[in-house]
């Protein structure tokens, strides 16, 4: 026989599962979300496999730009029959044994291969930045919303400072001061990316913690953690063994029993709050954060590559989408494909994740959900 609480728990998960299936059904109805998910999945798989498909050593430049090594800035061929796009009058034409679908960059490297090598770099950074920023922001927002009072006010004032800037401006200042390397760039973007999550989560928690189920949980003494009860019992047993002391000289030891029980009580209370918070409130209010994180994924990729484009790249030959575009910056008119294709890849990646995030928002928003 299952206990009542266990039954309730399976019931709860059943409901969650049914809800999840309904969400999937709603998502499937939207062709754009479907297309976005497939694109996102494609890029995830591609970024996992990229280093196996393309030899990463190809990214190491063999000569100086426009001089040695390969065929710098050659127009692309699409098929052997003709040129894919007529890029312009003074664009050099490559007539050699090699075949570049998207042309070459300034180091004479095949642009298509470089883009494939660049995708995992951008994806990895975007995932790390979004994860850390959203988790940090969510935790702070939860704290602010649940604790209220001075803590809330203090956290809000700090986020206010960050909200006074467009993310890019502050990220740029941070990046300029931290120096040029990928970890510092990540840090710079994380530092400007967490505040929206604080506001989002705080609002969620504020509305959620007033709901009657939270009141009920508190009234029921929701799961006064069993471990604490056990520890308290253990201590009580120990102290009971020295009960004879009660009348004796070592009577003062009983103060410790009270102190320990008091501390444990406080800890248990904290445990109860944390449990209500993480097990119930957070689980019920996490959806907007998920949506926001999905939508931010694209934004993070764009910001990261924008910083790279502006010249915070640790090395000019690093295959990264913004860096490739930056390579094409001084050659927009004589080698436009560098700019065109690296930017287009970025756009498609960001669009894929934005389509998914936008669909999720529609489906998970209780006001719009039917």
């Amino acid at each position: 026989m299952k206990s009542n609480s266990a039954k309730a728990r399976t019931g709860e998960w059943k409901a969650r599962w049914a809800d999840f299936k309904y969400t999937l059904y709603l998502l499937r109805r939207n062709p754009l979300v479907l297309a976005g998910s497939f694109m996102a999945l494609f890029f995830i798989i591609l970024s996992l496999l990229a280093n196996y498909i393309i030899d990463p050593n190809l990214a190491i430049p063999t000569g100086y730009p426009e001089s040695g090594g390969g065929y710098p800035f050659h127009r692309s061929y699409m098929w052997s029959k003709g040129h894919f796009i007529n890029w312009g009058p003074d664009v050099r034409l490559h007539e050699g044994p090699e075949f570049f679908y998207l042309g070459t960059d300034g180091w004479g490297r095949d642009l298509l291969k470089m883009i494939i090598l660049a995708i995992p770099v951008d994806m990895e950074n975007a995932i790390i930045i979004t994860l850390i920023a959203s988790i940090f922001g969510t935790l702070l927002g939860t704290l602010a919303g649940y604790a209220g009072g001075v803590v809330d006010e203090a956290i809000l004032r700090v986020t206010d400072i960050f909200f006074a800037f467009p993310a890019l401006v502050l990220a740029l200042v941070f990046a300029a001061m931290f120096g040029r390397s990928i970890p510092t760039l990540r840090l710079a973007i994380i530092l400007v990316w967490w505040p929206p999550y604080v506001r989002l989560m705080r609002g969620q928690i504020l509305s959620e913690k007033e709901k009657s189920y939270v009141e009920a949980l508190k009234a029921l003494g929701a799961a006064y953690p069993k471990t604490f009860i056990r520890i308290q019992e253990r201590f009580d047993v120990v102290f009971d063994k020295i009960v004879p002391l009660r009348a004796g000289r070592l009577r003062f030891l009983l103060i410790f029993q009270r102190v320990i029980n008091g501390i444990l009580d406080q800890l248990a209370l904290l445990g109860m709050h944390l449990r209500i918070l993480f097990r119930h409130i957070l689980l019920n209010s996490i959806y907007p954060v998920l949506v926001q994180a999905t939508l931010d994924f694209g934004g993070v990729i764009l910001t990261f590559s924008a910083l790279m484009f502006l010249g915070f790249s640790p090395s000019p030959s690093l295959p990264e989408l913004g860096n490739l575009a930056s390579d094409g910056y001084s050659h927009v008119f004589d080698a436009p494909w560098l700019m065109v294709f690296s930017g287009l890849t970025m756009l498609i990646i960001a669009l894929a994740f934005n389509l998914v995030g936008d669909g999720l928002r529609d489906v998970l928003d209780p006001k719009l959900r039917r």
Binding site: R29, N30, P31, L32, G88, P89, R157, V158, D160, I161, F163, A164, F165, P166, L168, V169, L172, V173, F174, A176, M177, F178, G179, G298, G299, L302, S305, A306, F309, L310, G311, G322, A325, Y329, V332, F333, P336, M339, V340, S342, G343, L344, M346, L347, A350, L351, N354, L355, D358, D365, K367, L368
Partner: protein, 344 residues
């Protein structure tokens, strides 16, 4: 709380924000260990060590950081924000900012007009034709807008409307700068279009408008997506409310229901977003200004960051923070008049 009490409270909080901003930026620009040496923008390669030390002493960079900050705050309260480095001809930082700010204002106004003019109809169409073809199309436009790398889009516009139109012999748009005829009219407002109009120089004005089209569109395309999505969401919400059903059941035409009844309430969130966008644009769209070589504050701030010019960075970030905070406050005040349910 009365409205004016609320405003006063917000203004007091604003001082905290500005103080915090200046503290953080000051530390980053002057004291951060891995940052650029604050004296770097004021020196050149042929200076001797003694000369560099002298420059450092003149600008007070040899003092401890808290003393520098104290002096900076004291001077800033008097309106003296220090001088910029050689890259901006060692002019006063505040002058450099103020002389390029009108260009940014012109660009932002144009961009925000385009954003609103395209974004709001897009959102409304999207909501009315929910989950049908027009909705999907407008969703794709909106999402493409905010998935687009801004520098890339700027270059694509330049490539097509300047370079290829030039090659093909079509009438092409200028690719960079704010005006091709600098010095032809006296500076009054600093905004080329207005100056041209004041001087009665139509050619100058048209030239300035031609320079404005590409950067303004580039900015608008990126921000209109957000606006369209917000308008759609709030419109969908409003359309489900009882008073809309009532209006329909009265036998009102759908057009009247949407434009007279639904739109008024649905556009309230759009006001916030537009206000904030405008504030952010006034802070200078760094990348777009950089790509189009627009002589506004965004491009200058980018140069300043690369030069490590702490004085200009401080002026710029403080001005930006001030604009954003005031815009937020203005939006909140406008809200009260738009939505009588809101009380502070």
């Amino acid at each position: 709380m009365k409205l004016y009490q609320y405003v006063i409270r917000r203004l007091i909080l604003m001082i905290f924000v500005l103080f915090g901003v200046s503290l953080i930026v000051f530390y980053l620009a002057r004291g951060f260990p891995t940052g650029i040496d604050p004296v770097a923008p004021y020196i050149h390669a042929r200076m001797t060590a003694e000369q560099i030390a002298e420059v450092r002493r003149i600008h007070g960079f040899d003092q401890p950081l808290y003393i520098q900050y104290f002096y900076w705050v004291r001077d800033a309260l008097k309106g003296d924000f220090g001088t910029t480095g050689v890259w901006a001809n060692s002019r006063l930082a505040i002058d450099v900012f103020l002389s390029s700010f009108p260009y940014t204002v012109q660009l932002s106004v144009a961009a925000i007009i385009l954003t609103v003019a395209i974004g709001i109809p897009l959102g409304i169409i999207s909501a009315i034709k929910n989950n049908r073809l027009p909705d999907h199309i407008s969703r794709i436009i909106a999402l493409t807008g905010y998935s687009t790398p801004s520098y890339w889009f700027g270059f694509m516009l330049q490539l097509v409307f300047f370079y290829y139109f030039l090659i093909w012999g079509l009438p092409h748009l200028p690719s960079s700068g704010a005006s091709g005829m600098e010095g032809a009219v006296p500076l009054v407002t600093g905004m080329p279009i207005l100056d041209g109009l004041f001087a009665g120089n139509l050619e100058y004005t048209l030239d300035a408008i031609a320079h404005l089209i590409l950067p303004a569109f580039s900015l608008a395309f990126i921000s209109l997506g957000f606006l369209a999505r917000i308008v759609r969401a709030s419109m969908l919400e409003v359309l489900r409310q009882d008073y809309i059903t009532l209006a329909r059941s009265k036998g009102l035409k759908e057009r009247v229901v949407i434009y007279r009844h639904a739109m008024k309430n649905a556009l309230i969130p759009a006001v916030t977003l537009t206000g904030i966008f405008f504030a952010m644009l006034l802070g200078g769209a760094m990348i777009t200004e950089y790509v189009f070589n627009w002589p506004g504050v965004g491009r200058l701030s980018l140069l300043a960051v690369f030069q490590g010019d702490s004085n200009f960075i401080l002026v710029y970030t403080l001005a930006l923070a001030l604009i954003v905070v005031i815009a937020n406050l203005a939006v909140d005040i406008v809200y009260v008049f738009l939505d009588p349910r809101i009380k502070y």
